[in-house]
Amino acid sequence: MTAALRFTDVHKRYGRREVLAGISLELAPGGRLGLIGPAAVGKSVICKLACGLEAPDRGMIEVLANHVVGKRESELGALRRRIGMLFQNYALFDFLTVANNVAFPLEQRGGMTAEEIEAKVAERLRAVGLAGSEHKLTAELSGGMKKRVGIARATVADAEIVIYDEPTAGLDPVTTQKIYDLLAADQARTGATVLAVSSDVVALAQFVDEIAFLYRGRIIYRGDAKTIADAPDPIVRQFVRGELTGPLEAA
């Protein structure tokens, strides 16, 4: 069975800083992978590379068995519609209402009537607990609400692979739990492949099967999510347990 997502020796440099120095990973269809690591280490970059929003300097990236590197924007459109992405800062369209934001991917894809789209949008908003907010503008929403709209938009097109970049950053513990329950329910329903980036390791560990640790441009560990706190690598252990002393350099 071909991998849903495959990075092969990917390098990415911004100016003088080499952010990714040879990333290779594979994600089987239906698998759930969490990605953790210190701040600004390149987790969001991996998300963007997976969607072809940015191009790596070197290496191959295949999404759903399609090569992503070296393709023009117009060629990537069809593939992108099979990917759902939640951006770290929500990236909601501030000139559209909540309902239109969620409906956007469906409208662009075409092939659905207005009623079908409306029904799907209503179902998604209900699932994220925002029924009744259809006509609000994004400026009127709180951070948590914006996150949930973002999740609704990322999952509305029943994508085959969904990428969540910090789905619970800045949210209180109760809301965090609710969000992860929601993500788990969605994934169970659609069987989509999931890549989730998060700084909240404990909550993330309950949602994903495996966790990969990104450090200094490389994936230095990948293993079962439930036992991450006892990982053989001391750097990973220190990070996950939040200890102050250890081999992890001060940020």
Binding site: C51, E73, L76, G77, R80, M85, N89, A91, Q108, R109
Partner: protein, 265 residues
């Protein structure tokens, strides 16, 4: 020796960056034209942009061009009074200059400031809040969705505002000539010197500026990086780039016209 080398590297680097930017700008321009041909713009968005660019700039253009029109006439009459005292040609010469140059160019400069800053600010904010990436994720081409409607609206509106601005300049000039120098309005408002080539020149310039401003500003907006500073930087670059484009285009078009007509403007 290494001091010289660093200097050369800096200048060389700047030239390479600038060339790359010009190439990207050209690509955006071609992309915009392709988008227009493809029929990529959204109908509703076009109306919204026509309103944003046209209606909202109306008062601004009227005020700025009105005042500059008064000043120019005042200065011209002042000089004429000093030299020849003959005001018979003032109105017709002034109109010729307005139609073939100052009307479109001053309107263009004012719009470069107002519309250029607006477009770059809007698109730039979208870029730094990742809305552009979100558009791309839904298979939308940002150039088609954002720049093409603004491009079409700008072409139309710049031409209309040029005509209006020119009329305001002429009218304000006439009032000034009458009240400050006693020039008879019927003497001033004289279309005798206007020939088709002047009108063609005006249209060519207005269309050129109308095309350049949204493309340059949209380009700057799409390149915004970082957060608030990125937006500020994009807006600044857009105003400068658009204004400078207007001046360069004016120069090139005027010089070309000069050659084509054998020095008879």
């Amino acid at each position: 020796m290494s001091f010289v080398r660093t200097r050369i590297e800096t200048v060389g680097g700047a030239v390479v960056d600038a060339s790359r930017a010009v190439v990207e700008l050209w690509q955006v321009y071609i992309g915009t034209l392709a988008g227009v041909v493809r029929g990529g713009g959204r109908r509703g968005e076009l109306w919204r942009q026509l309103h944003a660019i046209g209606n909202k700039s109306l008062l601004f253009i009227v005020v700025t061009l009105g005042f500059i029109g008064m000043v120019m006439t005042y200065e011209a009459c002042l000089q004429l009074a000093r030299v020849t005292g003959d005001f018979s040609q003032v109105g017709s010469q002034y109109l010729r200059l307005i139609v073939s140059d100052f009307g479109p160019t001053l309107t263009g400069l004012m719009l470069a400031t107002r519309v250029g800053a607006g477009i770059a600010a809007e698109i730039g904010s979208m870029k730094v809040t990742e809305q552009i990436d979100a558009l791309r994720m839904s298979g939308v081409l940002p150039i088609d969705y954002l720049i093409v409607p603004r491009f079409l609206a700008s072409l139309v509106m710049t031409l209309m505002l040029t005509v209006l601005g020119g009329a305001v300049m002429y009218g304000a000039g006439g009032l000034t000539a009458q009240y400050s120098f006693g020039v008879n309005p019927s003497l001033f408002f004289d279309l005798a010197l206007i020939r088709p080539r002047h009108v063609i020149l005006m249209c060519v310039k207005a269309v050129a500026y109308g095309a350049a401003i949204p493309v340059v500003s949209g380009f700057c907006g799409l390149r915004a990086r970082g957060s608030s500073e990125g937006v500020g930087w994009a807006t600044t670059a857009a105003v400068i780039g658009s204004s400078f484009s207007v001046i360069i285009l004016d120069f090139v078009i005027s010089a070309t016209a000069l050659f084509l007509t054998g020095g008879d403007l």
